[in-house]
Symmetry: C2
Subunit: 491 residues, 2 copies
């Protein structure tokens, strides 16, 4: 296990970086900015994927797969999209290597230069809408509700495991609709699906809202988002859903025949969440002892550690534990009985604490005699002795309780970190000293937004979806405003 973690109060950023590596979630690879997702981290991501995939299918979506590469010319077709995405990306220029004539190794074969460069997809709107042109002729072909699980690449200069990596895994939904209303409904629906997933599975409370024009996705007419708050008071955008209007349909000439026989451009949405969610998960719940995982996403929900001397004691413990393991598994609970004789109980306790296993059972000689288990919960670190007869019921209720408790804890923190301010001086003070979301009036202009960003590093995270209408005046310019918006420093 090595040395203890840096504490959050000492250096939050360092704590996060250490935790991700020590808890075996991910690590940096030999390729600049690209991470290796380790088995334990990947098992959490698989659970996220499975749940999201289920929710997408329940809302009528199907999966498909589109090419990794995008011809350079495709990117140029939608004007604002190319500005947003063509800048930092991986460009494939050649398709062959060869042995150097001087024997120095392998080199790029200059004879194998592509006529048109290919971009490793930073997002797939262009290649997908180029395909949709062939798939959509009539209103009968609509809506088209498709999702893709894929890797994407954005050549970020400063990378951090999960939060910002050159390559990351994500899903991207791309839907096509006959009417503007239906597309808007879809984009809004997916924001709600993401929020449902974040709150009820990740136990991460989020605020739903829309982005300001300057924070919108490149090519979108409206961007819906969910914003979470990390323990250091910084916000994290956890998912976005875009209403793309007819921009991509026009750029790629995708029209359909209406029931009345007219030709019209199709309406579009796209929406995505990524392995960034792993970062949000870690930073929302974990503590100075390591990960705290919500039971619904924990690869191991219950770990059982035997405390014994010699094989006879271990056999006696196993005899008691194995039927319990079987019973818990039959209830769909994932259990690990860690009988390794290469490590001591104390080492194992630390390891599972670091890895955020929600419930830990320990069984020693006295427990055998008393017919009890020592039960420890990861979220509060509380321990108690539980009668063997009650253990299954206890574990079942504890898993539910932990899921609820860590959500509530995160929600309480978030609620305590939304501050209403009415002056720019107060705003600066709160952003600097307290952090969290600051709710304030803004005049709706990009100029004011930019000024605030430059001066305080805070950005408008969202215009809250369920925010009350309230007349007020912009804290910076004094111009009229009809609703408070949420500012924060952000990841």
């Amino acid at each position: 296990m090595g040395k203890k973690l840096t504490s959050r109060s000492e250096d939050y950023s360092k704590w996060y970086n250490e935790l991700v590596v020590k808890a075996d979630l991910a690590e940096n690879s030999g390729v600049r900015g690209c991470m290796v997702i380790k088995p334990y981290g990947f098992a959490i991501w698989e659970k996220m994927q499975a749940q999201l995939d289920k929710m997408f299918k329940e809302t009528g979506h199907e999966n498909a797969y589109f090419p990794l590469f995008i011809p350079k010319s495709y990117l140029s077709k939608e004007a604002s999209h190319v500005e947003g995405f063509a800048k930092e990306c991986a460009v494939v220029t050649h398709y062959r290597l060869k042995n150097a004539e001087d024997g120095s190794g392998i080199i790029v074969d200059e004879d194998a230069k592509l006529e048109e460069e290919l971009i490793v997809r930073p997002t797939s709107e262009t290649i997908i809408w180029d395909t949709y042109r062939k798939w959509i002729q009539s209103y009968r072909d609509l809506p088209l509700l498709i999702n893709q699980w894929a890797n994407v690449v954005r050549w970020e200069m400063r990378t951090r495991l999960f939060l910002r990596t050159a390559e990351f895994l994500w899903q991207e939904g791309h839907t096509a609709h006959a009417t503007k209303e239906e597309a808007l409904e879809e984009a809004e629906q997916m924001m709600h699906v993401y929020a449902d997933f974040a709150e009820n599975h990740m136990a991460v409370p989020v605020i739903k809202g829309t982005k300001t024009e300057s924070e919108r996705f490149a090519g979108a007419e409206e961007t819906y988002c969910i914003e979470a708050l990390m323990q250091d008071g910084k916000a994290l955008q956890a998912g976005t859903s875009h209403f793309l209007g007819q921009n991509f349909a026009k750029a790629f000439d995708v029209k359909f025949a209406t029931k009345e026989g007219k030709q019209e451009h199709v309406w579009a949405t796209s929406w995505g969440v990524s392995t960034r969610l792993m970062g949000a998960l870690v930073m929302t719940h974990s503590d100075d002892n390591g990960l705290v995982l919500p039971p619904k996403l924990a690869p191991i929900q219950v770990v059982i550690v035997p405390i014994y001397k010699g094989i006879d004691q271990l056999d006696a413990i196993s005899e008691k534990v194995e039927p319990l393991v079987k019973e818990l598994r039959s209830k769909g609970i994932s259990v690990k009985f860690d009988k390794r004789d290469t490590h001591k109980p104390g080492f194992k306790f630390n390891e599972y604490e670091l890895k955020g296993v929600p419930v830990r059972l320990a069984v020693g000689q006295r427990d055998l005699e008393n017919e009890t288990f020592e039960v420890a919960r990861r979220d509060t670190l509380q321990k108690e002795s539980v009668k063997a007869d009650d253990i299954v019921a206890k574990i079942t209720s504890l898993l539910e309780e932990i899921q609820k408790n860590i959500y509530k804890k995160a929600l309480d923190y978030r609620e305590a970190h939304i501050t209403e301010v009415d002056s720019y001086d107060e705003f600066k003070k709160v952003i600097e000293e307290k952090g969290g979301f600051v709710s304030a009036h803004w005049d709706g202009t990009s100029e004011t937004e930019d000024k605030i960003k430059t001066e305080t590093k805070a950005t408008i995270r969202c215009i809250p979806f369920y925010g009350e209408k309230e007349d007020g005046s912009c804290m910076v310019t004094g111009n009229p405003s009809v609703q408070r918006v949420l500012f924060a420093k952000a990841y």
Copy 2:
């Protein structure tokens, strides 16, 4: 649905290409050699993935994720590997685009040239073994049993949907072991897992065997494979599992401390199957009317088509059908009740035949009166009338029967197409006229193998794993041989 399919006898290759597109499995994209996997095709691939993933986990493997890019220098580290893979691959040379100064569009920014080119992974041994060096110190860290689901790119000049595409989806297992014996066992085990999957889920009979030296994976000391036979008499390699010896451990300096405290190089395997299996599935079972899917992998197992005039008749049919749909779903059977009023029953029948739905039910007025369903099975195209009371039992048994029947049909075809020959003349005749596998004695040299390949286009598909030892003499050179091997023309 458009025009009818080209028949297999007319042009098998054209039949395949048309079928893949018309059945909505996949299509070519605007990117050379890269396919789009359409929702219906992807739903089949998802079922394959889910089953394989389950089998991998049952045999102790975990999933992880490694970078898409491989630094050029990594490829050079294992000598025979670089020969096999460095040739045709996508090379990333730059990380930025910019607007052309003359306003002509976006161009590669020459200032953003990578110091070392990155290769889009054609397979991941090198990047993974570079990572394993950090993960493996002691015998306690072994075995390391990891799988990755990923996209890979090999710049193929001639591509065909699913069978050979520049980008394809696959899984690649990469394991590390303390002993040679254990690694050999693992490689052999995965061949058996693949064969189990092919036969019991895809209903595709396969022959297990090992590859000759010249057909081995680049960097392997032994390659285990499963070989299937397509309806045109050509073989298709459906999966491979490699014993890599200590080659990659030596190239990437991966050593472990043994129990006795000695430092030794680790033993390796790798194994993979890809979206190529989709091609094998299509070509093994399908007929001139379209796809024939094994029930275990069919996205829709049962389709129900109402035959009606007017909304009252449809309502009466729906009243009878909806409880059935519910009951079938509760048994885990995927059902589609196609009530679309935009298409006629005849059109729907053709569509589901083309898409290979195993069981089709039709319900009209007379069925309502008689309390029956018309049941059609896709494999034999037989129809019968079944009493409503018996329909659930009938469907359940029919799904099992179809799964068995199409396997048996493919097995009978394969058995009828293994021909033993003892002379090279006979060999040439069989390869040319009958096709299929030819079982013959071979002297074990690459020279003879090459000569046969050049003269007949047939290659040694495998040295059968369960082949009888039998003294004989090579059909070409007359030199001694101890076992017959299987030749065929192949995809």
